[in-house]
């Protein structure tokens, strides 16, 4: 006898209430068989559905033959196995036979794998949590104006995801790909740099896919804005907190626990008494749920804010958390609740204990931190604990007084250990020397370039609290540090793509610039805002995510307005779009894919190569990752690269060990097929690089202006792009660039304002007009 409880027609999900067959006996059994689904997507399958390591290898080789890997080893050794350490310098090979170049490619690939794993595990958590909460059949609906809901999933996996359960299927494919690439990094596997590069590119694409899964899941599951260009403004800055409320600081990237906290506060009417603050991407995502949440800032504000002691309870989830967070919090009598399997800090697992008991133990014991991996319980403990401890923590919610700071720094012996450990080489000893008399001004100056990593302190033999001293030096400014950020809006709407698709492909909107990545700046955060504004004024489309979106928000004009207050939030010329947290980077790639699909009618399903070829040759998009820090940032960049989108890294990015550089002086590298004439022709050298480092803000600007050029630009579009390039170059160098002959293909492309000067340069270079091809790198497109 079988009694059925539920049969879902998505997957065959059979819930058996009771079975008694004589052989099998049982109750409440769930059986799940593959999936049957009525096909609702009529698009024909292309050749590259669920590509594996082999499928897109040829595409990667095409990219890599033009954009050759450029390696910068971080050290001479490999220490990956017990054959080693092996010294690979001066042509030597390791005991396994690997050489220096292959080892660099392997390390690069490993970094991308780690980054991909982070986004994928994040997506897995979200999907499993939401399936448990809402069911596998929960519909994916991004609103009336978004039909192409998941451009990356559609292209790579070849499905049109309709319900949450579909995202689980996508992740299973992605997880399998990651496993295979990770295995290839073991000793005695892959022996070719170029194949490691292809594997890295493969994982970059998988990373994009995982991010799309994660963001779609949380948008529908937590009811975030669905591509809303008028998403509300939220507060951001170290000075945004309300000193009269108990405060919970969330740090990390996974909003599940934070959202449970918001729900708990709302259900118990506690919003007048407790507030939620956030650092890093969790805070982005919490504002997408409730714009009253305050964003303290990017990664670089972590140590600063924890040291300020404002947070009564710190709830950490995953990624970009200081690993000494428990120790730092203890100094300020703040409590820490760890909630993720990725970051347990050796803490006692209290998940099974009642919330009140956990709180009592924390209050009466000598520990300041616990692990609770049940989000609901973690939320309850966080809120109740914050309310209880806030009044008794009042004395800790401030920096030490000036006397104490001066006494501390007077112990400095000018040994220079701090400076020699500082990633930005700040002259800390000099600033301290000048501050010894009581005037901390010099410390406030170096703080502008400090990323608050704390390395100086840990290297100081005297244990001087250098970061605290810098915070004290700027206390009065920081208390008033407040700005506005538009809440992450998520995907770009199909309607917007219909409007901008043509002008982008023709080059009339000069380019789309994505600012992504962390806050590991070498010259202060303000540069990101300065670059963004330069291009907003020039009518480029500017999008931002993660820490970069926050750094842009902290940059204000003379009237004290943030760029989000000044520029509209649509995906259109001269607009500034905050897409959301790091996983929302997928929407930038998604927008490029949608241009190919919605504007150019390219089929997506299993057609990665066709879409990437389209983007590389026609969509003038570029990403800037100015404050690179984590492995995730390079996974994001590598994904963008495989789709044909160039990326500019800030100076620290060179430590990822490899770039992808083109050679504009080598004509043969720039061949394309002309789909009209069916001939192999030499096109202009654009985009010049796929992954390049800029040493300064100004140099980055020049790269942006160049890297948005595409061989397909119409003459009018190219003229606009060249005009911006010349204009910027002239502003920065006081003269015209000397490579204009490479980018101007006919006389109509000479910007009117610079006509005489440009003609002179073209003459000197022996320039001749040339045809504009209908460019593609795919032979099959010309058959």
């Amino acid at each position: 006898m079988i009694e059925f409880d539920k049969i879902s027609m998505d997957n065959i999900l059979v819930k058996v209430k009771k079975i008694d067959s004589g052989i099998i006996k049982g109750e409440n059994i769930t059986l799940e068989f593959g999936k049957i689904r009525e096909e609702t997507w009529e698009e024909k399958e292309g050749p590259q559905v669920k590509p594996n390591i082999f499928t897109l290898r040829n595409w990667d080789f095409k990219l890599l033959s033009r954009y050759k890997p450029f390696y910068s080893p971080l050290c001479d050794f490999c220490c990956k196995c017990t054959f080693g350490k092996c010294d690979l310098s001066e042509g030597k090979k390791g005991a396994c036979g690997i050489d220096m170049i292959t080892q660099q490619a392997r390390e690069f690939c490993l970094n991308v794998a780690i980054g991909t794993a982070c986004h994928m595990a994040h997506a897995r958590h979200l999907v499993d949590y939401l399936i448990k909460k809402l069911g596998r059949d929960y519909k994916i609906d991004l609103g009336m104006e978004i039909d192409v809901e998941a451009p990356i999933i559609r292209t790579v996996v070849g499905i049109k995801p309709e319900v949450l359960g579909d995202l689980d299927e996508v992740l299973k494919y992605a997880e399998e790909q990651l496993t295979h690439v990770l295995a290839s990094i073991a000793t005695g596997q892959e022996g070719s740099a170029i194949d490691y590069e292809s594997k890295a590119l493969h994982l970059g694409m998988i990373d994009n896919l995982a991010k799309e899964v994660a963001d779609i899941a949380q948008i529908i599951g937590f009811n975030y804005p669905k591509g809303d260009e008028n998403a509300p403004l939220a507060e951001i800055g170290l000075g945004t907190y309300d000193a009269n409320k108990a405060s919970i600081l969330t740090i990390g990237h996974n909003a599940i626990v934070g959202i449970e906290i918001l729900d708990y506060i709302e259900q118990n009417n506690l919003s007048d008494r407790v507030e939620v603050l956030g650092i890093c991407c969790t805070s982005h995502d919490l504002t997408r749920r409730n714009s009253r949440v305050k964003i303290i800032g990017p990664l670089s504000s972590q140590l600063r804010f924890v040291r300020a002691g404002i947070a009564d309870v710190i709830v950490v989830d995953e990624q970009c958390i200081r690993t000494d967070i428990v120790e730092e919090a203890r100094k300020k009598k703040s409590f820490v609740i760890a909630t993720s399997d990725k970051a347990c800090y050796g803490l006692e697992d209290k998940t099974e204990e009642p919330a009140d008991k956990i709180i009592m133990e924390l209050l009466n014991g000598n520990k300041n931190a616990v692990l609770i991996h049940d989000p609901k319980k973690a939320a309850e403990v966080a809120v109740k604990l914050a309310l209880l401890v806030s009044p008794i923590r009042k004395d800790y919610k401030k920096l030490p007084d000036i006397k104490e700071v001066i006494e501390d720094i007077r112990r400095c012996t000018k040994c220079y250990n701090c400076q020699r450990n500082c990633p930005v080489n700040l002259d800390i000893p000099d600033a301290i020397e000048k501050a010894k008399g009581g005037n901390l001004f010099e410390l406030s100056i170096i703080r502008e370039e400090c990323i608050a990593c704390g390395r100086c302190e840990s290297a100081c033999p005297k244990g001087i609290k250098i970061v605290t001293a810098m915070e004290k030096a700027t206390e009065y400014i920081v208390k008033n540090e407040r700005s506005k950020i538009r809440v992450g809006r998520g995907p770009i709407k199909d309607t917007e793509i219909r409007k901008v698709g043509q002008p982008i492909v023709f080059g009339e909107i000069p380019g789309v610039i994505l600012f992504a990545g962390c806050s590991n700046y070498y010259n202060g955060a303000k540069e990101v805002g300065e670059i963004a504004e330069e291009f907003l004024k020039r009518n480029y489309i500017v999008a931002a995510t993660g820490c970069a979106a926050m750094s842009i928000a902290m940059y204000k004009d003379e009237e004290g307005k943030s760029l989000y207050e000044k520029y509209p939030g649509s995906f259109d010329a001269g607009c500034l779009v905050n897409l959301g947290s790091c996983v929302a980077n997928s929407h930038a790639i998604g927008a490029a894919i949608k241009i190919a699909n919605i504007f150019a009618k390219k089929p997506l399903r299993g057609n990665f190569e066709v879409i990437a070829d389209y983007i590389l040759n026609r969509v003038g998009a570029v990403a800037v990752v100015w404050g690179t820090m984590s492995q995730k940032a390079i996974a994001i960049a590598t994904g963008a690269n495989r789709w044909g989108i160039p990326v500019i890294l800030g100076p620290h990015g060179v430590k990822y060990r490899r770039l992808l550089l083109g050679r504009k002086d080598r004509e043969e590298d720039w061949y394309v097929y002309d789909a009209r004439t069916k001939k192999r022709v030499i096109a202009d050298p654009v985009p010049e690089h796929l992954l390049v480092v800029a040493e300064s803000k100004e140099e980055a600007m020049i790269w942006i202006a160049k890297l948005v050029m595409r061989p397909n630009d119409t003459s009018k579009g190219r003229m606009i792009k060249v005009a911006h390039y010349i204009d910027l170059y002239k502003k920065l160098f006081g003269k015209l660039p000397d490579d204009l002959h490479l980018y101007i293909r006919n006389e109509n492309e000479i910007p009117f304002n610079y006509k005489d000067e440009v003609i002179k340069i073209l003459k000197e270079k022996g320039w001749k007009p040339r045809e504009i091809p209908d460019p593609t790198l795919l032979e099959r497109n010309i058959r």
């Binding site: 910068s72 990633p423 060179v654």
Partner: protein, 163 residues
Amino acid sequence: MYVKPWYHGDSFGNRYAMVIDYKYAKKILNRCKNPIIIAGELLSRDKEAIDIISKARYDIVSTTPKTYIAFKDRDRETYYESLNTLINLLKSDDWKGFNGKEYDLAVFIGIFHQLLIQMISTLRNFSNVITMNASRFYVSIADYSFPNLDRDTWLEYLRKTFL
């Protein structure tokens, strides 16, 4: 002579740049056929150092717009090439240099040290170009490097090496 690299994260392995003074630096410059000075962003912020370098008789390439302008303000025309694309060219057999001759010595000055170290690493590992670090701080991966110097001594080194 052993010198501890200025930046404590600067450790590549068994190779340490030979520590040189200005006399030795000058000797290397004289012995090489076609040296090039690679001047980075930080040089543009150092008035005295750029005053000296702008008078050097070797080819100079500025790697950022501000450095280019700083030289120009001193009536010194320099080449411009972004740092990583320049290193990419320098390590390529088929690049003949700005002046039509291959460079055999790259002298670095005024580059953010984390970037500098990595760029020298590329040349040291994948090219025959000799690398010399003329910054204030010792860099281990170069072939030759000034030691860690106080500012005044460094300026003196620059004067005696390049003027």
